[in-house]
Symmetry: C2
C-alpha cells in the first residue's frame, strides 16, 4: 500500500483555511452525534518518526469536546505493562460507548518497531498478527468505529527533518538514538510497515496512508478520513442495518479529494518510436520464450492479470505477450460477466478453477477485480461484499504465492481524451465497430466513480506478494514493451 504514492501533494494556505473551517464544524457535530448514539471510536496514529504525529493529533482534538476523548501515547510498554500480555494495556484503553480514544502509536508497534529491532520474530510474530486481527475484529463486531492512519514520509524528508531539529540546541534533544537507527534502517522499516498495512487491513478496520510531507494536506486528509468513517458509523447505527449497496456512490465529505492516488501522476506521455519498439519487443519476446521453458522445468506457476480502462488496449497487449510463446505452456482466459453457474457460486470460485497449474502461465483478460470495479460501481453486489472483497482477493493471491506462484497485475491506463479518440476511431472503422458498445459509452459517464474504485483497488490490493504495475498506455508501443519486460524481470527474479 506504500508503493506508487505521491508524497509531494500540497494544499495552498487559503484553500486550507476554508476547508479546515468546514472540517472542524463537521467533526465536532459528528462527535456529538456519536456521543448521543453511543458509538465508541478508535483513531490510531502510526508512522515514521518526525512525520508529525504530535502536531496532527493536536490539530484533530482542537475542535472536539474535551470531555469526550482521551489521547494515549504508547511509545513502549511501561515496567508495569511488561507484566502483562501485550494487548492487555490496549484493551484497558478501549473507549466506552460514545467516547473517542486516540492512540499515538499503538499495538501495531509490535509488528514494525519490535519486529525490525529483533524483539519479536518467527512463531511469536505470526501469533501477534493473529492476536491483533482478532482484537480489532472483536471490537468491530461490537460496533467500534476504527480508523487507522499511517503517516508516511520519504527517507530524504525524514533526514531533512532530523537535520533541522538537530541544528538548534533547543530541539536537538528531540532526535533520539533510536530515531537515527530507524532512519538508517529505513528500508527494513518500510518493508515491515508494508506487511503490517497489508496483513491488518480489513473492512472493519481499514488503513489510510497519509502523505505527510505537507502538514496542511495531512491534516485535511486525516479530518476527511475520520469524518467519513464517523458518517458511515452514524448511518449504520441509524439504519440499524448493513449499509446498503445504494449508498455506495453517495458523495462523501472532504475526504475524497485527499484520497491516496496512484493515477494522478502517471506520465502518459511516455512513448516509444517504432524502431525502438521493434527492437525491444523482439528481444523481450525471445527472452519470455526461454523463460516459459524455464518455469515449466521448475514448475513455477505464473499469473498475469490485466485490468484497465475500456479501449486501453488489453487485447493487443496480450497478443504481443503470447505471440512467441509455446501454446502448450500458457492459456488466455477472457473474463466476461459470470454465467448462471458461476453466479450460483462464490464470486472467486471460477477464478480458482482457472488458476495456472505449476509450470504454466495463465493470462487473465479482466479478472476477479470485477468485484471491486464494475460490481461495486454498478451496484451488482452490496457494499459489505465489495468492502470485504479486498481481503478475500488478497487471501487468494497470497495462497497462490505460498504455493510459489509469480503474480503480475497490470493496470492499463489511458486518459479520458485518449479513450474518446479511440471510441470515435472504432466507430469510424467498420471492422472495429463491434468493439464499441453502448455499455462503453455508459461506463464513460461514470468515470469518476470508476476512477475512485480503481484507486482504492490499487491501494488495498498492492501487496508484497502481488504488486500492481501501472502501465502508461496512451502509446500502445510503450505499453506492450513495458508489460513484456516487467513479466520477464519478475520471472527472472523468481527463478534466480
Amino acid at each position: 500500500m506504500l508503493k506508487n504514492i505521491d508524497l509531494t501533494r500540497e494544499v495552498p494556505k487559503a484553500e486550507y483555511k476554508r476547508l479546515k473551517g468546514d472540517a472542524n464544524l463537521k467533526l465536532a457535530a459528528l462527535q456529538r452525534q456519536s456521543q448521543a448514539l453511543g458509538i465508541p471510536i478508535i483513531v490510531v496514529f502510526e508512522g515514521w518518526s518526525a512525520a508529525g504525529k504530535g502536531t496532527l493529533i493536536n490539530e484533530m482534538i482542537l475542535p472536539l469536546d474535551p470531555r469526550g476523548f482521551s489521547v494515549y501515547s504508547a511509545r513502549g510498554p511501561t515496567e508495569e505493562d511488561a507484566f502483562y500480555p501485550f494487548l492487555w494495556r490496549f484493551w484497558k484503553r478501549t473507549p466506552t460507548r460514545g467516547r473517542l480514544a486516540i492512540f499515538d502509536r499503538s499495538w501495531n508497534r509490535r509488528l514494525v518497531t519490535d519486529r525490525v529491532e529483533g524483539l519479536i520474530k518467527g512463531e511469536r510474530l505470526r501469533q501477534s498478527f493473529d492476536d491483533i486481527r482478532s482484537f480489532e475484529r472483536q471490537l468491530g463486531d461490537e460496533g467500534v468505529v476504527i480508523v487507522k492512519c499511517f503517516l508516511h514520509i520519504s527517507k530524504n524528508e525524514q533526514k531533512r527533518r532530523f537535520d533541522a531539529l538537530r541544528s538548534s540546541p533547543a530541539t536537538a534533544w528531540r532526535v533520539t538514538e533510536k530515531d537515527l537507527r530507524q532512519h538508517e534502517r529505513y528500508n527494513e522499516y518500510l518493508a515491515a510497515a508494508e506487511e503490517m498495512l497489508t496483513e491488518t487491513d480489513a473492512d472493519y478496520a481499514p488503513w489510510t496512508v497519509v502523505e505527510a510531507h505537507d502538514r496542511r494536506f495531512a491534516t485535511l486528509k486525516i479530518f476527511g478520513t475520520v469524518i467519513e468513517a464517523l458518517e458511515r458509523g452514524v448511518a449504520a447505527v441509524e439504519r440499524k442495518a448493513e449499509v446498503s449497496a445504494l449508498s455506495t456512490v453517495e458523495p462523501v465529505s472532504a475526504g475524497n479529494m485527499f484520497k491516496t492516488s496512484a493515477l494522478d501522476h502517471v506520465d502518459l506521455s511516455k512513448s516509444l518510436t517504432p524502431e525502438e519498439y521493434a527492437a525491444r519487443l523482439k528481444k523481450a519476446q525471445a527472452e519470455l520464450r526461454e523463460l516459459e521453458h524455464e518455469i515449466y522445468l521448475r514448475r513455477v506457476p505464473v499469473v498475469i492479470a490485466y485490468e484497465g480502462w475500456d479501449a486501453a488496449g488489453k487485447g493487443g497487449n496480450i497478443r504481443r505477450v503470447t505471440q512467441n510463446l509455446d501454446p502448450r505452456g500458457y492459456e488466455v482466459v477472457p473474463v466476461a460477466a459470470p454465467n448462471d453457474i458461476e453466479k450460483a457460486h462464490h464470486y472467486l470460485w471460477r477464478f480458482w478453477a482457472q488458476m495456472p497449474k505449476a509450470g504454466h502461465i495463465t493470462i487473465f483478460d479482466r479478472t476477479w477485480y470485477g468485484r471491486v470495479l464494475v460490481e461495486r460501481v454498478e451496484g451488482f453486489c452490496t457494499e459489505a461484499q465489495w468492502r470485504r472483497a479486498y481481503r478475500e482477493i488478497n487471501g487468494m493471491e497470497q495462497h497462490m504465492a505460498h504455493f510459489g506462484a509469480v503474480i503480475l497485475k497490470f493496470w492499463l491506463h489511458i486518459d479520458p481524451e485518449e479513450q474518446l479518440r479511440r471510441f470515435r476511431e472504432r466507430e469510424g472503422m467498420p471492422h472495429k465497430q463491434w468493439k464499441i458498445t453502448d455499455e462503453d459509452w455508459r461506463n464513460r459517464q461514470k468515470i469518476d466513480q470508476y476512477r475512485e474504485a480503481v484507486e482504492e483497488m490499487l491501494y488495498r490490493t498492492s501487496t508484497p506478494y502481488a504488486q500492481w504495475t501501472i502501465v502508461e498506455s496512451n502509446c500502445k508501443r510503450h505499453a506492450r514493451v513495458k508489460v513484456l519486460e516487467t513479466v520477464c524481470k519478475a520471472i527472472r527474479k523468481r527463478i534466480g
Copy 2:
C-alpha cells in the same frame, strides 16, 4: 473438544427406527427447501480410519434427492491436484446455490494427516490454518451452510475394528499400512485433531464431534446436526436477517438429545471421609503455598476460573484454595452483573483488565463465561453475539497462554436434587438466608436451557491451552481437594 467425551453412548434398535424415520423425512424436506431458497450446503466428514465414514455418508444420502448433491472423496491430492495450491481442488468443488456437497475427508486433512506425517510444518502449517479459516469464512459470508463432523473412536475401538477386518481375507485388504501407522501414532493424531478442532471452530463453520462407537447413535447425531444447521440456514434466509436472540431457546430438532455431553456421566457419588479430607487438604495447601512462591520467582501468571451451578459451593471452595496463601500473591475477583461503565465496553474488557500479572494468581468467582451462560439463556445478548463469543473467549485465553499463563477452569457440578436440598437448607438457616434469592429459584426453572448452554461451553472452550475440569461437588470435601490438587499439578507441570 475431544476430552470428557463418552464414546460408549448407544441407541436401541426400536428407538432408532422411529427416530430415523422422522429424521429421513425432515432431512428430505429441508433439502427441498434449501434448493428452493438457493442455499448452498457443505457437509464435511473427518475422523479416524475405521470410524465408519463410508457407511454414515451412505446413510445420509439415502433420503436425499440424488439430483441435489455430490459426494467427493478426497483421500489425497491426485497427480493433477499436486500441480495446484492445496485449496484449489476444494474451491472447484464448492456447491452452487441450492446444492449439497459432501466431503469424505477434506481440506482439514492437511492439518492432521499431512502434519503428523511430517509433510507440512512450521510456517507452512500456520499458513494452512490461516488459509482454511479464510476459505471457510468467505463461504460463510456468502451464505453457505457449513457442517463439519469429526467421527471419533477410541484407540481400543480402532484396534478392535482393524482386527475384525483383518481376520477375514475378504476384508483384510481394507486395512492399509497407512491405517496401521495411524493406529500406532494414535496419540499424535489425537493431539493434532484437537488443535484442528479448536483452531478452526467458528460460528460460521462449527465442528461437531460424533461419538462413533455405535453406528445408530452416530447416524442420528449426524442427521440431527445437519437438520439443525439447515433449519437455521432456512430461517436466516427467510427472515433475511440475523437470527435474533429470541430464537435462542427454540426447541430444536432431534439434534439435541445427541449432543455431546460432558456432564451426563459425571460420577457425583465421589466423596471423601473427613479424615482423608483433612490430610489431603493440608498437604495440598502446603504445596500450593510453595508453588505460589515459585511462580512469583519465575513470573508465571496463573488464572483460576470458577463456574458452576448455584449453590455448588464456589465460595467455600475458593476459601480452601486461598486459606494458606500469601495474600500479596493472589487476588479473588468476584464477578457480578456488569456495571454501567463495564456495559459501555466490549464484554471482555473488564476481564482483560483483571487478568493476573506475571508471577501472580487471580481467582475468578464466576467469569467471562457469563456471556455464553446467563447472557445466552436470559437473552441479554443476541444469538450472533454468544455464538461468536466461543471464538473470542478462546482467543483471549490463547493470548494469555502465549504470554505463558497457566489457565485452570473449574465447573463445579451438582445434581438438581442436591441443589434443591441446599436451597432448602439455606432457607432454614437464618445466617444463610441471604445466599438464596428469588433469582436462584427462577434459574432452577430454566435448568434445561442452562444445562444445554453449559454443555456447549464445556465443548467449545476446552482447548489445548485452557482445559475445563469438571469437579464433582455433591461432596464438598471431594470438590475442594480435587480443585487444590488439580491446581498444584498444573503449576508443577508448567514450572517443570
